[in-house]
Amino acid sequence: MSVEKFYYDNSIVKKFAIVTVMWGVIGMLVGLLAASQLVWPSLNLTSWLGFGRIRPLHTNAVIFAFVGNGIFAGVYYSLQRLLKTRMYSDVLSNINFWGWQLIILSAVVTLPLGITQGKEYAELEWWIDIMIAGIWVVFGWNMFATILKRRVRHLYVAIWFYIATFVTVAVLHIVNSLAIPVGFTNSYSLFAGVQDALVQWWYGHNAVAFFLTTPYLGLMYYFVPKAADRPVYSYRLSIIHFWALIFIYIWAGPHHLLYSALPDWAQSLGVVFSVMLIAPSWGGMLNGLLTLRGAWDRVRDNVVLKFMVVAITAYGMSTFEGPMLSLKFFNTISHFTDWTIAHVHVGGLGWNGMLTFGMMYYLIPKMWNTKIHSIKLANYHFWIATAGILLYVVPLYWAGFVQGFMWQDFNEAGSLEHKVFLDTVTKLRPFYMMRAFGGGLYIIGALVMVYNLIKTAKAGSFLANEEAEAPALVKNAKVHDDGYWHRTIERKPVRMLVLSLIVILIGGLVEIVPTLIIKSNIPTISSVKPYTPLELEGRDVYISEGCYNCHSQLVRPLRFETERYGEYSKAGEFVYDHPFQWGSKRTGPDLAREGEGNPKQHRDDYWHYEHLMNPQQSNPGSIMPPYAHLRDSEVDVEGTKAKMEAMVSLGVPYTAEDLANYKTSMDEQATKHADYIKQNLMNKGFELPDAKYQTLKKSKMIALIAYLQRLGSDIHKLEVPEEETEAQPNDNSLTLK
């Protein structure tokens, strides 16, 4: 047996480490801007800096740029060492690196421009989605090929976490991104309404599971034992909790849709699996913490371990909280409030952030062959970041409870105590201020790290190719060649597994998806009709401005919600919504029943016009960004037809006549809304010269108002036809088939 000499590729790790820190700081600064906008709405300086566009930029930046690059940095470092081999291909490594940065740059450009698919954490437009899929496959290819040329037969548990990450994220991303493109700046989700919602949260939940959790658990299993210089508490537990985790996680998605129009049994199934998740999650958490049993003195002296201990503790807290939030009792309060935001930041700032910081303090001195420039500064960073997390999440938990309970309050007369939604928003201002302060501290900590790491790197000398030696892997003696061609594939189980999975998935998707999905978009409520061409354009404005980031479109069947907003939302109302726009947070009120005909509330076109022009003037204390720019921006009428045709291919029943006359229809409807606004302006003594009137009529503002006036209005048109009342005597005014 010969000992082979080889070199670990540190350059690729260096590259990923640098961008991890860089994008981390940028993503967090964007988050700070978004947080500040909720306190000082005047910070919504331009259309592309509006909260609705900045918030997706923040989430995408911290998830895919900060954590994403962190995953690659950690995986490229640990994989080589665990397998005692260099990465399979330096070229693939570099394609992975530059491709991923190109994707991030595309996001940085498109999201502020309002080019979005309008699905949370999956906002990026279709062509970026394709790039993501391609680069992800390159990463997987590189990883599996490295695994195949390994010099250690056993795959350490961290590698299993990496494999699960690769496979699952690939599948989730592809399924959730299925869309019909309309040009480079637009596309419509293949799924509609409640179906789209289910796909989205199947993706959204598992993105948390397989992008923010499993890869970081893998990193934990490598870097914590390394930093502590002692084996993991129980290797057996790590294996058991890994398999349990990946088998359970995938079924928990529906807990994001409790009390929604999703069938009850699906909701309950999601809850059951969510509760079961505590076991494997805490298996990992305890395994991480117990690794330090009897060695807690090392935590006192080792700053890397300090970060990791807080990270693992945060992981434990958020994975306990997650199942709790999936119980309907807690979900009633937490859903749509800042409780959710606090929850995800325990995970994001605590688990992902602190583990990344710890990893950086470990990696940089190692690769530059030196010691941390200043342990003292690193300790400062640790305390600032920990304090920052607390100051961030505690006020937000508080805000969540306050607002959640205010929404539910009924007075003795039986009507809502806080009828004006805005009252529950202005109450939160001090909490939002504290949150921004906490987040600010966290960023200051990160900047201290940047300084410290740069100093560290300057003091050392970077080792691009680290020499190592290991004996070659002896081929398994059991394998014998009997001349059959498929033996070669069978001998490489990992490759076979991946190949067969890809084959099955492609086949299945291509065959099943289009037929199933389009057929099942048949309307279930007879009065629910497709959007008019103008409303369709207005909907695109709604998506592009990111309105869903603050306004939900889902009235839950809870008395305090139906009292405030009107009839609760039905699955059949969303059959033409490509994509669905239920949202997950109510920074502003729900809009599902915003349209005409709602007996609970109605606001006319002119109210919307004034409010969109200057929300603070209509509603003093409002924190909504202004949308005056929509008045001066014209709807591209020529492009509407392509959008309608795309909708037709998704099963929306626009007739040939609709398509032929769409311009007339748009003009008529726009005239109606614009005339109403003009009349009101004149009544108030304002002039509206004809040129300005024409701009207004063609503007995105009018399209948006048309859409808002349509929202949830279809079921009001279903005024209990006689024969149907007889057929369904118990049904309250609805015919649900």
Partner: protein, 60 residues
Amino acid sequence: MSIIFMLTGVSLLLAIGFLGAFLWAIRNGQYEDDYTPSVRMLFEDSKKEKKSNENKNQKQ
């Protein structure tokens, strides 16, 4: 709600894939030793460790 069938199908495929991987791991003898790997990963790749690595491989 045919989407449920599709998502269940895709999720099941994933689960079957993972099950296959799990069975492979068991049959391949990946989990016959559930202690040594946790210690082995701690060794640094400096030349001092060469001997201990060799010893381990000779056992196999």
